[in-house]
Amino acid sequence: MRAVFFAAVTDLRRRRGQTVALMTALLLSTLALYTAVALLLGLNEPFDAACRRLKTSPLQLFLDGDAHDLVAMRAWLLRHDAVGGVTPIVPIYRTSGDLLHNDQSLKRSLMLAEWQDFQDQDRLQVVSRQGDLARPGAGEVWLPQQMAAAHAIALGDVVALPMNGAPQRLTVTGTVVDPFFSTDNISPTRVWVAPGSLAMMLPLDDLNESFLGVAVTSPDAVTTVRAELEQAFGGALSGMVITQELARMAHGVFFRVMATALAMAALLALFVSLLIVAGAVGSAVFADYRQIGTFKALGYTPTMVTRIYMLRFVLPAFLALPPGLLLGAWASAALFDHLVGSLGVVDVAQPVAIPLVTAIGGVLLAVAATAGWSARRAGRVPAVTAIRLGAPAPRGGRFLAAPLVTGLPVTAFLGARSLSLNPVRACFAVAGIGVAVLVLVFSVNISATFARLSENRALWGMPAADLSVGLGGARFTVRPEVFATRLAADPRFSAVLASGSVRAEIQGVDGISGRSTFGRVFAGDPQALGLGMIEGRHPRAADEVVLAVNSAKKGGYALGDAVPLFIEGQHVQPTLVGIYQTGQNFGLGFRLDESAMEALLPIWRPRTFDIVTAPGVDSAAVKDEWTAFYGEAVTVSRGVELTEELAGLTGGIRATLVLLSLLLLAICAASIVNDTLLCLREQQQTLGILKAAGMAPVQLRQVLVWRALVVAVMGLVGVLPAALILLPLLLNNVAAGIGLVTFPLVFDPWGTAALVPLLLLFACACAWLPARAVSQLDPRRLMIA
């Protein structure tokens, strides 16, 4: 065994460059694996974990105390068998305008709640505070950590809350984790003020609302308790209801996307590392052929020879693991801060043991298995032939692509041909670059999708309009019929779709915060603005309806079914003629034709107009014109404004994708360096001959660069189309939960096309540096050898 060990170590020293390249790849693989496992474990229901830790009520009621007798309601809840506890009644106040910070208006409305020292339910985790304050004092406010971080609000800052009279100024003296309100996806954001302070600062008429947190004995009981509560207290509750399921959905969208992307990146990184190991072992066996024969002649068994190579590659893994693990721990902590911390869930105990075991075990096992499997050939080397020939007997293979590349420059031809000398490793190299192509294609197109939301509105459930106009000002309005006639006669517009919103109860389907669900009534063909259907068609008659995909799923409705609706105080049962997708309201909703609405309410008129402008028409100029002409009677927004509103969200997603791409590119760089070094070793005699024949070192370097280029081209050709097919399938799967069964992917042709030259340049750059070793080749010695 000692002999095996020394043989392996000697070999390692002899091939330092290759060892360094391999260690780099393994280090990055370890880093990615540790990070991915840590994040996957850490992200596994972090929201639920935070809720459990803080005993957050899974059913939270924010109700009008004027409309409901909250004392009686609390007593009723406490008597309910499925209720485990109810918080005291907490006064709250919802602001009606934007929050002001540093004289800037932030698009957030707030819910002020009076601080309570809850012990058994709805605790708050204090993240930071001024001094040793136990709770916010008079004139102070504590914000959710996520909100403070997202809007750069620091302790000591003053925020102003819009109120009747004058803005109320409060000093931020603390930040907390309040799980339900640690995302911008739930509005308003709950902030905490001193107990008793609402009565101090607000007019009496604004002291109506209160919060009740309801703990239940089992998660399933939330729906039951809410339904029975509504029944017992006169139908729909007056206020807002948030359930844990709803809050989890609001947070989970991003967790799911991030976790999936990270897992994919980790597996791909390990895969590339294994390709490097397999290629390196094959190369080493080829290069050490005579030495293997000698070992065998000395009495080494095939197993011992195989072990030399296993050890030869497991040893670098051992060396690469500690820094890889350290970097992984650092990276995962940073990503936790970015992903989890930004959602307000701080101080989450990051998993260490399982990522450690997984990374160490996974890398070592995978490397050992790959090296062992690849080194089997070494065990089968015949001693006599190996000592006599110093290389395996030439195979009967031929350079199949020779006719195709004979027209290339000689350096390119030689580079391409060198791949055919070890096709297995060539495949590994191609696969490695293919992984990078895959990730980069994903990154480019997902970034484009979020950056250009407004260009693909229809698949998100919104009309693909350049302009949207809402009719109705505080005092003046335009008759919908008049406005519609003008739009129809205006040559600047190629399509117009009028619509209005409506609410209804769909039997068997709860809305987001109650029984009713928002729907849309169209006066015209929604297809004109790109609104398509997953199944069936748009409604055309009064007795037809279409449902959003999650409404259909929850209610168990299929095409042709009668859908019981309670709308405008009337029970109707239109036939389901279609199912559509929408990214709004978590995929819940319905659509009707105007004939249905006119039957229910004869005076109903559409008051929203979505408009597609003709080519060359400046929508900004049209907006300005209408603002001047109609004044307060219309509200005009441009489609591109949606992108501006979502800049924060899209920026975060883009940053994460860039991070993933850089990781994969680093591994890919290591792969190319390694492949170049291996190639140098394998083919040093050939290169020596070429050098002796008069090829300049620069030309020889070009041979190796051409080799990397061909690998890159093959990776691009093989993976690019597959990536473009795989990407939508993956996103469809991830986003189906929020109603986007067909993810509204915006394909970025220029970005994707730009990847081709960039990756080729990248491959050249990665190969050019290690290829300088050709200058050290001594043709005379090589030819003698």
Partner: protein, 631 residues
């Protein structure tokens, strides 16, 4: 030379453009008798309790008369000198006030507002810094139309300042100067500029710069003065007649620059004459001609109106062409009173109308714009027009009939949220029709018949504009609540307070204690307590002294006062402030309400541990406050 020619060309163009407005076209003398007969016919056919009408021509008031009564409950004749709330017509007087300052060289309309009110800004300060005085007066500043000025019932002289400060919490609805946005708040800001430059509160500034020079002795923006002048309360609209408003409009100082001023018809005649002649009551120049022309120049296009046609907004005036002649006009709606004024400069004529009732159903009765325009036509022997009339049938009319067996589900009493007790009561007549009566703070503010469009929506039909109501019915058909005029009203439910038999009555103050609270009446004080929380109600001699009230209620010295606000409890307007106080043994806070009595101030004080104030008020205090009766 070239500059001179350009100037000449400009002047010629200007003259041509404005010739219809300015040139005095020779016309026959107005037929006042015909005007009087016509107005009498119109009044008799309509449901106005009272109207004030004034017509001016060539600098003289030709006709000024009142029709009907000041109140259907106490029918004294309404005459041309009776002050009536003119609502937004006030904007034109505010504009005149500022134009006089321009005339005096003290104000430049095109300078930013911040040059005059340094602290003025909205949340988007970069935008609001671009707002000029002209934009305020032409309703193109982009300031949101929140109508805070109307509903803030403050008596303090600096109420407008607080309103302006509150704008810092809002963003503009549109970039300054980009389009029309009607904004009472904008005129409050303008009024404050005038007040700052003149050095007196706006009501006094308006008096000094406009009302007094024009001899408008029966007009004022000061609530106390309006009461002294006999300002009317006005009427809400009932099923067949007006419903007298329970209290005067002039309860508070309001923010008069935007919308609240009481004027008599005769005074409006003086005002119109001054604008047409440019001279005040003494015949002295009031305002340079070009400044009046500037007020009536097209500044910003107004959203089109089916009834009124195409108008621009000038400075405090709507300007446009009606029946082939250029007019300047403005209307006003002061909740229970309305007004409209129209000037035809080319005829050197104008007509103004005031009405002591809110807007009537324009499908049934002629609205004030129609009456004013046709009144001028009648006087000049011109054909009548449909200006101001609806141009299409009432779209809210429909053939839906609520099944009679379902009607009973709506019958009942619905209570609005808040302390200003609003009730909506639905009853069923013998013929099966449902009727509605809405009371606010004990005053009947709407009465009519329910005309259903479907089981979830109906209109309240009477003499006034049909008001929509939205019913919340559950799937089983039970009606739980109704939304009326933006307010949700729920079916009457069990009260948190005991029955009236437990009412505690001390020295004119009475209240029903909430469940679990005990009364401990001592001397002249009414006290109810539960644990460490207690409510004290009583009167103290003199004007308001919050600290004294807190001590009287058993608290310590006042450390800190929160902002003061108003609240209507029942039929009374109270001021509210919360204070933190300390005594030797505890840290307590109090919620203090007060209102003036004769020589005294009435207080209601809820005192609790410092952390408990909101909770105790929400759970019991509010219910007890609703039962409070004071002397």
């Amino acid at each position: 030379m070239v500059a001179w020619m350009k100037m000449t060309l400009l002047l010629v163009t200007w003259t041509l453009l404005w010739s219809p407005l300015r040139a005095a076209t020779p016309a026959a003398a107005p037929d006042v008798a015909a005007l009087d007969r016509w107005f009498q016919e119109q009044f008799d056919a309509a449901a106005y309790p009272g109207l004030g009408v004034v017509m001016v021509h060539e600098g003289r008031t030709l006709y000024a008369r009142g029709f009907g009564v000041t109140s259907v409950d106490a029918p004294t004749p309404l005459d041309a000198d009776t002050p009536v709330g003119i609502g937004s017509l006030t904007k034109s007087l505010t504009a005149l006030c500022l134009m006089r300052l321009v005339d005096q060289g003290r104000l430049d309309l095109d300078r930013p507002v911040t040059d005059y009110l340094a602290d003025f800004h909205t949340a988007d300060q970069v935008q609001s810094d671009r707002i000029t005085v002209r934009m305020l007066l032409s309703n193109s500043s982009g300031l949101p139309s929140m109508d805070r000025g109307i509903f803030t019932v403050e008596r303090d002289g600096d109420a407008d300042l607080r309103l302006i400060e509150s704008l810092a919490g809002n963003v503009l609805n549109r970039p300054p100067g980009s389009g029309f946005e009607y904004s009472n708040e904008g005129f409050v800001v303008a009024g404050r500029i005038a007040a700052e430059l003149h050095g007196k509160p706006f009501s006094e500034t308006l008096h000094d710069l406009v009302l007094q020079p024009l001899g408008m002795a029966h007009s004022s923006a000061d609530p106390d003065q309006v009461v002294r002048l006999g300002g009317l309360h006005g009427h809400y609209t009932g099923a067949t007649s007006g419903l007298p408003a329970g209290r005067p409009l002039a309860l508070g100082r309001y923010n008069a620059a935007g919308s609240v001023l009481q004027c008599s018809a005769a005074d409006l005649g003086r005002y119109l004459n001054a604008l047409l002649t440019g001279r005040d009551a003494a015949g002295q120049p009031l305002l340079a001609r070009e400044l009046i022309d500037d007020m009536w120049r097209d500044h910003v296009l107004m959203p089109e109106s089916e009834r009124l046609g195409k108008f621009h907004y000038g400075l405090g005036w709507m300007v446009g062409e009606v029946d082939g002649r250029r007019v300047a006009a403005h209307g006003g709606h002061a909740i229970t009173m309305t007004s409209f004024a129209m000037l035809v400069p080319a005829q050197e004529a104008g007509l103004a109308i005031t009405a002591n009732i809110e807007t009537l159903d324009s499908h049934r009765f002629p609205d004030l714009p129609t009456l004013a325009n046709n009144g001028l036509h009648v006087a000049f022997g011109e054909p009548l027009s449909d200006f101001g009339k609806p141009k299409r049938p009432d779209v809210s009319r429909n053939d839906f009939t609520l099944p009679s067996e379902e009607a009973i589900a709506y019958v009942g009493r619905y209570q609005g949220s808040g302390l200003a007790t609003t009730w909506l009561e639905v009853a069923q007549r013998a013929d099966g029709e449902l009727t509605v009566a809405v009371t606010r703070d004990g005053t009947l503010v709407k009465r009519g018949v329910l005309d259903f469009m479907n089981p979830a929506r109906a209109y309240v039909r009477g003499i006034g504009t049909a008001m929509p109501v939205f019913w919340r019915r559950d799937a089983a058909g039970k009606v739980h609540s109704v939304r009326y005029a933006g307010l949700q009203l729920l079916r009457e439910r069990e009260a948190r307070v005991s029955g009236d038999e437990t009412r505690v009555d001390v020295a004119g103050f009475s209240m029903v204690p909430a469940v679990g609270w005990e009364a401990t009446a001592t001397g002249q004080n009414l006290i109810v307590s539960r644990g460490s929380a207690h409510v004290w109600a009583g009167a103290l001699t003199g004007s308001v002294d919050v600290a004294q009230a807190v001590i009287a209620a058993g608290g310590g010295g006042v450390l800190h006062e929160g902002p003061t606000s108003q609240v209507t409890v029942g039929q009374r307007l109270w001021q509210k402030v919360a204070v933190r106080s300390t005594d030797e043994n505890s840290n307590r806070c109090s919620l203090v309400l007060w209102r003036p009595l004769v020589g005294q101030t009435a207080y209601w004080v809820l005192s609790t541990e410092v952390d408990q104030l909101t909770q105790v008020f929400q759970q019991d205090g509010r219910a007890m406050l609703k039962t409070l009766v004071t002397p």
